[in-house]
Amino acid sequence: MKAMISLEINGEVHEVAVAPHATLLQVLREDLALLGAKKGCDTGGCGCCTVMMDGEAVYSCMVFAMTAPGKKITTIEGLQQNGKLDPLQEAFIETGAVQCGYCTCGMILAAKSHLSSHPSPSDQEIRQAIAGNLCRCTGYQKIVDAIRLVSVGR
């Protein structure tokens, strides 16, 4: 039995019919064609599906869509402003932090969420902030470099 809910995603309200067990990740990908959030495991283990809810990084595979109305959801598609990349997106390109790219969107949003409340993290804090996001290609070093690049005063 599906129910209509409204979700505020990237500043836009979407009316969508969802099943009780549908995850936010499923709704983003299958109903709204927002493909930036990736399914890597569907069990809250890899972080490829990370999005922001009211500024907090969450695994969208671990959130029932039914619990999301009333929250401000930000996906990678909402990061560009007036056609300009977010500084974190720029930094990921510049430092070579992108390899296969499957973890990249989740990684950027995890970092974005952390930087919004901790604008000048130490390297150790950066590593802590992305410890819930797995990457198998980069060894994380250039990802840490990218996040450091946009940290204030570092």
Binding site: L34, K38, C105, L134, C135, R136, T138, Q141
Partner: protein, 776 residues
């Protein structure tokens, strides 16, 4: 080395912009109108015969469109591995798409296609299967012993193959040795952990022609294996090159069950059919083969090897798949060839068990061997009081020597000595203390390991494909489109190949674009594997670009009234060498070539020469007979907590000789990512199975522990000892695999240096360390 305008620069990856904004090009995003979703039913038992399957309840579920059982699949035994012809001797054909005998827990027995994935899943659970359980065996040494359950008629005692190679006189060598070391080493089953699950969509037309989108490391490999398994000519199967895939590392180097199952379901329904693995399904689909290695090594007083003998037992699981070739690469390039020794023998066994099947994984048998060989060298140095660098320098090959496997090849660029020396200098190796010299409960130690020689291509394996080809076409705006079958796994193949094409053509990096390719439109290509793409595909794209360049200079020469060899290309412009003001843009040359015979110019009509007409296109297709070997040496510092057994890697210096570096940022990324996989192999990762039921106990990322950013050292320093490989594109060799071959023994040796105990079985967990320290 000469300075170049694109090669050797830290260029931005052409795919990065797309990937930081959402990344639409992944196979997981492929959607077609009317697409069905399929799920597989898998055996709960590790060894069983299927007596009866009842699909009636599943078929009645609304939304179900087709069901597939072993009775519906062709009776064709195949092997799924991409890089050799289907009938190659090393490729044991023991798989059916669905079989009525299952040999590992999780082997598919049926599949359902439905309008939604949830319906397919529910329907699969409604299929009733009656099994006759058969005895199972999980330990390869038990499997070859008397009375063990037998998996196949074609393999008495479960032995897939038992190759043996020897040089010189082993007995005499051991008689001449002053010291003999005998040790046993064991590696575990680890997973590639590509982030994008295996996924495919297969569509069929009314005449049964198939089009396949898949997260594959080789479109031609997939076409060949899929056509064979289905009993079709290859021309009935088209595989589309994905713009990128979410990692592979060798784990997508064979056809899965999903592609042939989707193909058959699509033919049954006439609709496109998609399967996406769950992460659990990925974990039981591919793994690095565990190998147990018995080493006996004779050393002379002067520190040279007198004799080396090794025996390796490889657990290939329920099907042979990669097991036979992994074993050969392991024996030859992991054990026999890396060091000089006149008297050597290696014996290997690939053994069937009721464990999951093995697969390709970066390093392909060498990480297992390096763990044993490089650990034992450390043990030898410790006992005989040699410095580990000094000892290796007595036993390694040198530049301009003949290749130890094939004397017709020369080690034209081979800088292992410099890797060791420069690495040692930058790391501070000279400050190494004796083992367990630290005070306190947390003890630091340093260690090193090398990969002296690597296969990097097909040398020694004449039945392995090494082809690459490219089509390069110029556009009227002065840009170039490249079509190649080469897959970018994420390691930057597209970037490196674009740089090579841009350098050869004399255009900026941004002017080169990789475009659509499938198995019907581009030249045959071997997989993206075996550290081969920069070299083999690099040479192919350089030749295609070179042939376009030749035509471009001819046309520009005609227009500029200058001899083609008096021209040069720079920054997108063709100009006369001695008078650079005289020239024209590439764009103008292409416009001239693609304009009609008569062109309107302000003064009226202007005729051109018909010889100057046509698209500027270059095609190449090459198959080098071998790739030159990279070499590497790595230095690691660890801290071991002797109270908890926890190991922290503090810093790493990793030196490689890879010829000229095409893309420094990409090369560093390979080294850093390879180290992460090596650290996981050394300390954490273990795909554990219940030894009674065969069930996977680590089938998700909560139980399968791979390194996060917190486990990684704060700095991995890459050193590249550059040289100009005469046969490589702009002097380049390849890189990927040594980055993961070396870390485990380097870490193990550093742990020994810290606490004075030797762990010979991976992973080196806190429990093993505490047990070795006598604290458990």
């Amino acid at each position: 080395m000469s300075k170049m305008s694109v090669v050797g620069h830290r260029v931005a990856r052409p795919d990065a912009y797309d990937k930081v904004t959402g990344g639409k090009g992944f196979p997981v995003n492929v959607q077609l109108p009317g697409m069905l979703h399929a799920k597989m039913l898998r055996s709960p038992y590790p060894h069983a015969r299927i007596l009866h399957i009842d699909t009636s309840r599943a078929e009645k579920l609304p939304g179900v469109k087709a069901v597939l059982t072993p009775a519906d699949v062709p009776n064709i035994k195949f092997h799924p591995v991409f890089f050799s012809p289907t009938l190659a001797a090393t490729m044991v054909r023991d798989m059916l798409i669905l079989s009525d005998t299952v040999r590992f827990a999780g082997e598919p027995v049926a599949a359902v296609a439905a309008t939604r994935a949830e319906i397919a899943e529910e329907a699969a659970e409604l299929i009733q299967v009656e099994y006759e359980r058969l005895p199972a065996v999980f330990d390869p040494e038990e499997a070859v012993g008397p009375g063990a359950p037998q998996l196949y008629e074609h393999a008495p005692n479960n032995i897939v193959m038992n190759p043996s190679f020897s040089f010189g006189d082993l007995e005499r060598g051991f008689a001449e040795a002053d010291h003999i070391f005998e040790n046993t080493y064991q590696t575990q089953r680890v997973h590639t952990c590509y982030m994008e699950p295996r996924v495919c969509v297969v569509d069929s037309d009314a005449r049964g022609n198939l089009t396949v989108w898949s997260s594959t490391q080789s479109i031609f490999g997939l076409r060949e294996k899929l056509a064979f398994a289905l009993g079709l000519p290859v021309s009935k199967v088209k595989v589309v090159r994905p713009p990128y895939i979410g990692g592979g590392f060798g784990g997508k180097l064979d056809m899965g069950f999903i592609e042939p199952i989707c193909a058959l379901l699509s033919r049954k329904t006439g609709r496109p059919v998609r399967i996406e693995h769950t992460r659990y399904e990925d974990f039981i689909t591919t793994a690095r083969n565990p190998i147990k290695m018995y080493l006996k090594t004779g050393v002379k007083k002067d520190g040279t090897f007198a004799a080396r003998h090794a025996r390796s037992v490889l657990d290939t699981g329920a099907h042979a798949t990669h097991g036979a070739v992994v074993l050969m690469v392991h024996g030859m390039y992991g054990f026999l060839l890396p060091y000089r020794c006149a008297n050597q023998k290696w014996e290997g066994q690939t053994v069937y068990t009721n464990n999951i099947i093995g697969g390709g994984f970066r390093g392909y048998g060498a990480p297992q061997a390096a763990f044993a060989v490089e650990s034992q060298i450390d043990e030898i140095c410790e006992k005989l009081n040699f410095d580990p660098i000094e000892f290796r320098l007595k036993n390694i090959h040198r530049e301009m020597e003949q290749h130890p496997f094939d004397p017709s090849f020369t080690l034209s660029t081979y800088r292992l000595q410099e890797c060791l020396e420069k690495g040692a200098e930058q790391f501070g190796w000279a400050k190494r203390r004796p083992a367990a010299a630290g005070d306190g409960t947390k003890k630091k130690g340093i260690g090193l390991a090398c990969q002296p020689l690597w296969v990097s291509g097909c040398l020694g394996f004449p039945d392995i494909y090494e082809h690459s080809g490219a089509i390069l076409k110029l556009n009227v705006d002065g840009t170039a489109d490249v079509s190649m079958a080469t897959i970018d796994l994420g390691s930057g193949q597209t970037t490196v190949l674009s740089q090579i094409a841009a350098e050869e053509l004399g255009v900026p990096m941004e002017a080169v674009r990789f475009t659509y390719a499938d198995t019907e439109t581009v030249p045959f290509d071997a997989p993206s594997h075996a550290s081969r793409v920069t070299y083999s595909a690099g040479n192919a794209v350089k030749v295609a670009a070179g042939s376009v360049k030749k035509r471009l200079l001819e046309l520009a020469g005609a227009a500029l009234k200058a001899a083609p060899d008096s021209l040069e290309i720079s920054a997108g412009r063709v100009r006369v060498k001695d008078s650079p003001d005289k020239g024209m843009t590439i764009s103008d040359v292409v416009k001239m070539a693609e304009s009609p015979y008569v062109t309107m110019v302000p003064d009226g009509m202007q005729k051109s020469n018909l010889q100057e007409k046509g698209t500027l296109v270059g095609i190449s297709s090459l198959a080098p007979s071998s790739n030159p070997s990279p070499a590497s040496a790595e230095f690691v510092e660890v801290e071991v907590d002797t109270e908890t057994g926890e190991v922290k890697v503090l810093r790493v210096v990793f030196a490689h000789d890879i010829g000229r570096v095409i893309n420094p940022a990409g090369a560093e990324g390979q080294v850093e990512g390879g180290f992460q996989q090596g650290l996981g192999f050394a300390l954490m990762e273990n795909l554990v199975f219940d030894q009674t039921s065969g069930a996977c106990l680590a089938g998700d990322f909560l139980n399968y522990k791979m390194p996060t950013a917190l486990e990684m050292p704060s700095e991995i320093k890459s050193i590249f000892i550059e040289s100009e490989e005469p046969t490589g594109p702009f002097g380049a060799k390849s890189l990927s695999e040594p980055c993961l071959i070396v870390p485990a023994p380097a870490i193990a040796n550093a742990i020994y240096n810290a606490i004075g105990v030797r762990i010979r079985e991976l992973p080196i967990t806190p429990e093993k360390i505490l047990a070795a320290l006598g604290k458990l």
